[in-house]
């Protein structure tokens, strides 16, 4: 025992640590960097702002974690968010005449958004499973459809939420409970339920099994199509939730709403350590991934070291580095 123990830990530990704690370490390093560049980075105001902004991508990314873990992919989330936002705004504006500008209108708007999200996810899911079309193709298609729908609804311009109702809806984005903004509360709740669903339920186990080997899943009495479809429905619900808290922020939707959110969501998932080809998913990692992405943008805002326009470049570099750090075998291959 002692003689083998001498040689191994040195080569084994770093690998495990990086896989497990890599995203957390990266986030801490980013925070240290941000603080050293500008001490205001760790001010309460900035942290609240950072968390609030992470909420959208974070919530969507939790859904994406399920889709990806079960071996799928959803490229349509950004367009879906835009389309849902558009429909929601139109609906609420037209409800003012009937129901006024009270809470009821907003509640109906939000409820219909949730329904739309679930339906859009269901469509993606059924097309991939029952339709037997590659998820990449299906969601590439729906991505185009949703995007063009919002452009059509807005007639090429911008759909604006009627002014009277903004006052009612505003607090959903801007108010705090116990000092924590509402979007952050929603984010926390989605994260906890996502973690629970992934790690403590049969559903999460089935997602992992399907993502690692669909044959084995089928032979193990798992209803592969049903579970896969559910992952897309969950993704749709997450997108809808994110949209519901996003709409009061700007009070409008246009063809540029939610552009590239799908990439950010997938990036958050991958940075968090979930395997892109499926079979291994980490909700906790996804949350960190979303925070990392927002933090990069935030730091660039704070300093003029790097142009703000290079935000995408920095994010891209971080994604590639993160994945490289996780995938590189750190000598384990050469040891066996």
């Amino acid at each position: 025992m002692p003689d083998t123990a001498q040689t191994q830990p040195a080569s084994n530990k770093p690998k495990i640590d990086l896989k497990m704690y890599g995203p957390a370490i990266a986030l801490v390093l980013l925070c240290i960097l941000g603080f050293s560049l500008n001490t205001a980075f760790l001010s309460e105001g900035n942290i609240t702002n950072l968390l609030t902004r992470s909420a959208f991508i974070g919530i969507i990314a939790v859904g994406a974690t399920f889709v990806i873990t079960a071996g799928g992919i959803d490229l349509s989330v950004g367009s879906m968010a835009a389309a849902i936002a558009g429909v929601m705004i139109i609906l609420m504006n037209s409800l003012i005449d009937v129901l006024g500008t009270g809470t009821l209108t907003v509640v109906i708007g939000a409820a219909s958004a949730i329904m739309l999200g679930a339906l859009a996810g269901l469509a993606n899911g059924l097309l991939t499973t029952k339709g037997k079309i590659e998820a990449f193709i299906v969601t590439l298609g729906t991505m185009g459809i949703f995007r063009s729908l919002v452009t059509y609804f807005a007639d090429g311009g911008t759909l604006s939420l009627s002014f009277e109702i903004r006052g009612t809806y505003r607090p959903v984005y801007y108010e705090s409970i116990l000092g924590v903004p509402i979007p952050v509360w929603v984010f926390i709740m989605v994260a906890i339920s996502g973690w629970f669903l992934m790690n403590r339920t049969t559903f999460g186990r089935y997602c992992t099994a399907i993502g690692s080997n669909e044959h084995v899943a089928q032979y193990s009495a798992i209803n592969v199509n049903k579970i896969k479809t559910w992952t897309y429905v969950i993704q749709g619900l997450c997108v809808a939730l994110a949209t519901v808290i996003y709409v009061p922020r700007l009070g409008s939707a246009s063809s540029s709403t939610g552009v590239l959110w799908e990439l950010e969501a997938i990036a958050a998932v991958i940075i968090g350590g979930t395997v892109l080809k499926g079979g291994y998913g980490r909700i906790g990692g996804t949350i960190l991934g979303a925070l990392i992405l927002t933090t990069i943008g935030n730091i660039l805002n704070f300093t003029d070291l790097v142009s703000n326009y290079l935000n995408g470049t920095m994010q891209g570099l971080i994604i590639i580095t993160a994945v490289w750090l996780q995938r590189a075998d750190w000598g384990s291959k050469s040891k066996t």
Partner: protein, 515 residues
């Protein structure tokens, strides 16, 4: 690399020893699996390596072909110490390993696979016709009747195995290392393989091979090395070494009867499963009955439709026609879950492709089929899962030195035990086992047979699909022989013997059926 030079140095002691391992030890992480094992391989000999599941045979072979590096110890090739290059590059030195788990690119053709990494090319352009011609020759020489343009994914497991062998032969190996090449082969295919092995031996190739089928070892090998728990036990000339002696050295104790005493079948027992006129794409109008507590053997050639028949019953393959009655309830199963809930489980013969999640540990694999039992609505009960694993490890004697080992790193036999444990978690009334002991050592085989007999004694009905005739004969109450998707004959009592099975499987007993 230094082979050319060292060949001139004729060491009188090791003159015909081609490859030699000296005090090899190997640990994975902190888990030791080989302890100072020495081994030598002579040109022109077939050297068999035997040992229980997990004894370290595959590991030793991987080290001797460069796929693993030893933790300590040295390897000599042509008398000179070498560090074998990694990941199959030892092939360039003439050392070829055929893995236990086949290693073919599924979506590529036979030709592409055989020439993978050493394509014939002129100025960077592939010379397809030259490769095609060469592959045709090789396929003929190994007696494999398939087109060189077939995709690997379309081949049966046995055919894939033969392609691996064809591939190795095309590389002009000086040392050929084969890890359980016959595990998935039929008797006839094994004959063809052994003819090739014999031919290579006469050409002076050094051949190392693992098999759990001891009669094969005794038939083809010149020397035998026995490993037990990672330790070298003995190296003996095969001549004069009896099968019982081999088995005893492998397991380290006297082995009693391989097959358990099978209690007389109860002809009046309830019918557990009744199948009427079942047809699928390759199965035609099959009817049979299975009684409670009965062990029903299914024999026949590979491709005779046995697997498809039972996959159809369990909702894995679409059924065209037929009625199924389980415990008096009529009704087909559309999904595996329905079959499971009705008490029927199917244990696939494709452990790695359909049986186990290779990237997961034992825990997740064990409970997967019966997961709803471990959950309160959606919520998993981890305590219950952990307890189930502890129980299964004991009950099935699953040996893993590291309890968190991934399924892919378990030895073949232990994977099989895990799979058996997995289907038993569903607490089935009818168990269908496809090739129950493929790649399993004698000691474990005995355990599995006794386990099957004990289950039957408890009233569980068992179907054993097997291509190993002694196995079907040894444990079945009744044997159904299939041929070309149909039932060719049913044997009971003293009629269960090899001659009868072969006659039915080959279609020689056709008339008797109607008599």
């Amino acid at each position: 690399m230094d082979r050319g030079g060292s060949m001139l140095v004729k060491n009188p002691i090791t003159s015909d020893v081609l490859l030699r391992a000296e005090s090899l030890s190997k640990s994975f992480g902190t888990v030791p699996v080989l302890f100072s094992v020495s081994f030598d391989l002579k040109a022109g000999e077939v050297h068999a390596l035997i040992g229980e599941n997990g004894a370290g045979k595959s590991t030793l072979m991987k080290i001797m072909s460069g796929f693993h590096s030893p933790t300590s110890g040295r390897i000599f090739y042509d008398g000179a110490p070498v560090t074998l290059p990694r990941n199959g590059q030892a092939e360039a030195l003439g050392i070829v390993l055929i893995h236990q788990e086949l290693n073919l690119a599924e979506q590529m053709t036979v030709t592409e696979n055989i020439f993978l990494g050493r394509e014939i090319a002129k100025n960077g352009i592939l010379d397809k016709s030259a490769m095609h011609k060469r592959v045709v020759q090789i396929l003929v020489s190994v007696g494999l009747d398939i087109s060189p343009d077939t995709r690997i994914s379309q081949l049966s497991i046995a055919q894939k195995q033969m392609v691996e062998i064809a591939k190795a032969m095309s590389r002009n190996a000086r040392v050929l290392i084969m890890d359980e090449p016959t595990a998935v082969l039929t008797e006839a295919e094994t004959r063809i393989l052994f003819a090739q092995v014999d031919r290579l031996r006469k050409q002076g190739v050094a051949i190392m091979f693992v098999s759990h089928k001891l009669h094969e070892v005794s038939e083809i090998s010149d020397r035998v090395t026995i490993l037990r728990d990672g330790q070298w036990i003995a190296t003996r000339p095969t001549k004069g070494l009896g099968l019982d002696e081999m088995a005893r050295m492998m397991v380290g104790r006297e082995l009693s009867d391989l097959y358990p005493p099978i209690a007389e079948a109860d002809i009046d027992a309830d019918v557990a499963l009744s199948v009427e006129g079942l047809s699928t794409q390759n199965v035609h109008n099959v009817s049979f009955e299975l009684r409670s507590g009965e062990i029903l053997g299914f024999s026949g050639l590979v491709g005779s439709g046995r697997t498809e028949l039972f996959e159809a019953i369990c909702g894995l393959v679409p059924m065209q026609n037929g009625a199924i009655t389980t415990f008096g309830h009529a009704g087909r199963f559309a999904t595996v879950a329905q079959a499971r809930d009705a008490g029927i489980v199917y244990l696939t013969k494709d452990r790695k492709g359909k049986g186990l999640l290779l990237q997961e540990g034992m825990q997740a694999n064990l409970t997967l089929l019966a997961l709803p039992r471990f959950a309160n609505r959606l919520m998993l009960n981890k305590k219950q899962e952990t307890a189930a694993l502890a129980r299964a490890v004991r009950r099935f004697d699953i040996r893993a030195r590291d309890p968190n080992v991934l399924a892919k790193d378990m030895s073949g036999g232990n994977q099989q035990k895990l799979l058996l444990a997995k289907v038993m978690e569903a607490d089935p009334k009818i168990v269908i086992i496809d090739e129950p002991t493929r790649g399993i050592d004698v000691g474990t085989k005995q355990q599995i047979y006794h386990f099957i007999a004990a289950l039957a004694a408890e009233g569980v009905s068992i179907v054993v699909i097997s291509s190993e005739m002694p196995e079907v004969i040894g444990i079945s109450h009744r044997v159904i022989v299939m041929r070309d998707g149909q039932i060719a004959g049913t044997l009971t009592g003293d009629a269960i013997n090899e001659t009868q099975i072969v006659r039915y499987a080959a279609g020689l007993n056709e008339e008797k059926m109607h008599a």
